[in-house]
């Protein structure tokens, strides 16, 4: 019994290749349809993953600056830090004294340096700060208000309006890209299934003969499903090559970032291989589903 199944399985693989070759023009039509749609899907997937990547980079860059009241003494800073550490959403806390800040600012420009040089440590109008990065940028407002309630905190600043604008823009971008990719895949599935249906339609007669000579429905479907898979694999070859070489070329051309260091491209490795694998899997699966559905139509009597 198992021998029989093995034999039928290997015959199906042989027949699949045979009929891809024997029905060459139709196979070629299916393969090119699969190739073109998969290229579009690959571009969509890579674009959306990159967009999501640089929203992540930007999100990571958002910092809450906590200004400490002037009257707080140095020994109490530890207490404030301990309280900050208790807040869930906070990932890193960097203390910067007003002295450090002043030095940093002086280093950035000579005009600032000229004015600030005059200040004695007592005159320094700056305040001690904690620079905080958060995990979930979406709840940054809650975190900020929690922080502002801590005793000894003068004010909290995280560029509220800008962050809110970014957040709502990112939400739209993320949803938009997911939707676009989903739609793209849906269209691909539809297109490929229909092309394969056409190739199988021309073989209605073959299917009816298979039924006449006593092939079970399962053994009729198997070679067609494998054939669909083979078409899917062949159709993924060109998109895969384009993904790998194309993305490397793009990455090198832009030097890994577009316009500003904020908009970082994802490193090609292992990204291109991952996307290629996704594309190959989509090709195979859709090819198989397409043939399965097409054959099933001709098995009903």
């Amino acid at each position: 019994m198992t021998m029989k199944l093995f034999r039928m399985f290997f015959r199906s693989i042989r027949d699949a290749f045979k009929s891809v070759i024997r029905n060459f023009s139709l196979s070629l039509a299916s393969i090119s349809c699969i190739s073109i749609t998969l290229i579009i899907v690959a571009i969509g997937v890579m674009a959306s993953l990159n967009v999501n990547n640089f929203t992540k980079v930007i999100k990571k860059d958002v910092t809450i600056v906590v200004f400490v009241k002037r009257e707080v003494e140095e020994k109490d800073l530890g207490v404030i830090k301990a309280k900050l550490e208790q807040i869930d959403n906070i990932v890193t806390i960097d203390y910067k004294s007003k002295k450090q800040l002043r030095e940093e600012m002086q280093a950035t420009s000579s005009t600032l340096d000229a004015t600030m040089k005059e200040w004695s440590d007592e005159d320094n109008p700056l305040k001690d700060t904690f620079q905080i990065k958060v995990d979930q940028i979406e709840t940054i407002a809650d975190t900020a208000s929690l922080i502002s309630k801590i005793e000894g905190i003068d004010s909290v600043n995280y560029g509220e309006t800008m962050v809110n604008k970014f957040l709502s823009a990112f939400k739209i971008i993320e949803k938009g890209t997911v939707l676009a990719v989903a739609l793209l895949i849906l269209v691909t599935v539809f297109l490929i299934i229909n092309t394969i249906k056409l190739t199988i339609f021309s073989r209605k007669r073959e299917i009816s003969i298979m039924r006449v000579v006593g092939a079970s429905n399962f053994s009729i479907k198997m070679p067609f499903v494998i054939e669909g898979m083979v078409l899917g694999i062949f159709g993924s070859i060109i998109p895969t090559i384009l993904i790998i070489y194309g993305y490397y070329a793009l990455y090198d051309h832009f030097g890994g970032q577009i316009f500003s260091p904020l908009i970082q491209l994802i490193k090609p490795e292992p990204f291109v291989y991952m996307v290629s694998l996704i594309v190959l899997l989509i090709g195979m699966l859709v090819g198989m589903i397409g043939s399965y559905r097409a054959v099933r139509k001709y098995l009903k009597v």
Binding site: M3, K4, L5, R7, M8, R11, R22, N23, R205, E206, S208, I209, M210, R211, V212, V213, G214, A215, S216, N217, S219, I220, L299, K300, V301
Partner: protein
């Protein structure tokens, strides 16, 4: 014992046309039966019911121990493996060779390679086409194509061979060749043959059992019968 038993069968197509009325028929093992009648008498429908291409709307059909009328779609292959079927239009795979066309019937049931090879060559020898294994159907004459189809139908050694107008597309000379092949199969392998035809010449020459249908009803069933024009 009967190999085919048809009891109280009626068949009405979905468009309302009734093709068979209250049919009773028994066919014994080793029989050679002609089903004859005019156009639209239901002879094709009868053959189609025997291989469960269509289902009767009433009655019971037993073929080789299987209750055909109740057979589910995904079990039809079990019946088809007991049958060989030959059509008027041959139904060969155009892109497969003669050998592959005959082997196909054994491949789909998962037979081992050596068995396929042995049986295919034997079947092709029986129909007299052993020398043409590598040809494609379109390189053969109509009569030869039909003989390939017959080889495919008997390669699995079925108990029953159903033929729906197998000589309908052939000239009288080629038709006689086909009938000789069928007669040999019937005589040497003991295969039961049920053949729908309207070929008067053949029926009269063969002198086999003749079942006459008229407007869906059985009107005559004669051993060693002839093509009875009056009954039709």
């Amino acid at each position: 014992m009967e190999l085919i038993r048809i009891r109280d069968v009626s068949m009405q197509y979905k468009n309302g046309v009734t093709a068979i009325y209250d049919l009773e028929l028994k066919i014994k093992r080793g029989d050679f039966v002609f089903i004859i009648g005019g156009t639209g008498c239901g002879k094709s429908t009868l053959i189609k019911m025997l291989y469960r291409e269509v289902k009767p709307t009433k009655g019971e059909i037993i073929v080789g121990g299987l209750n055909v009328a109740r057979l589910r779609n995904n079990r039809v292959y079990k019946l088809r493996r007991k049958l060989g079927i030959v059509f008027q239009d041959y139904r060969l795979l155009p892109k497969s060779t003669v050998y592959e066309n005959v082997a196909f019937a054994l491949e789909v049931i998962g037979a081992p390679k050596e068995e396929i090879n042995r049986k295919v060559l034997r079947a092709l020898e029986l129909v007299g086409l052993k020398g043409k294994v590598r040809q494609y159907p379109d390189q053969l004459s109509g009569g030869e194509q039909q003989r390939v189809a017959i080889a495919r139908a008997i390669v699995n050694e079925p108990k029953i061979l159903l033929c729906d107008e197998p000589t309908g597309n052939l000239d009288p000379e080629k038709s006689i060749e086909i009938m000789k092949v069928l007669d040999t199969i019937n005589a040497t392998l003991g295969t039961t043959i049920v053949m729908a035809t309207h070929d008067k010449e053949i029926v009269n020459r063969m002198k086999k059992r003749v079942v006459i249908l008229k407007e869906g009803r059985l009107v005559k069933d004669v051993e060693k019968g002839v093509y009875d024009d009056e009954a039709i």
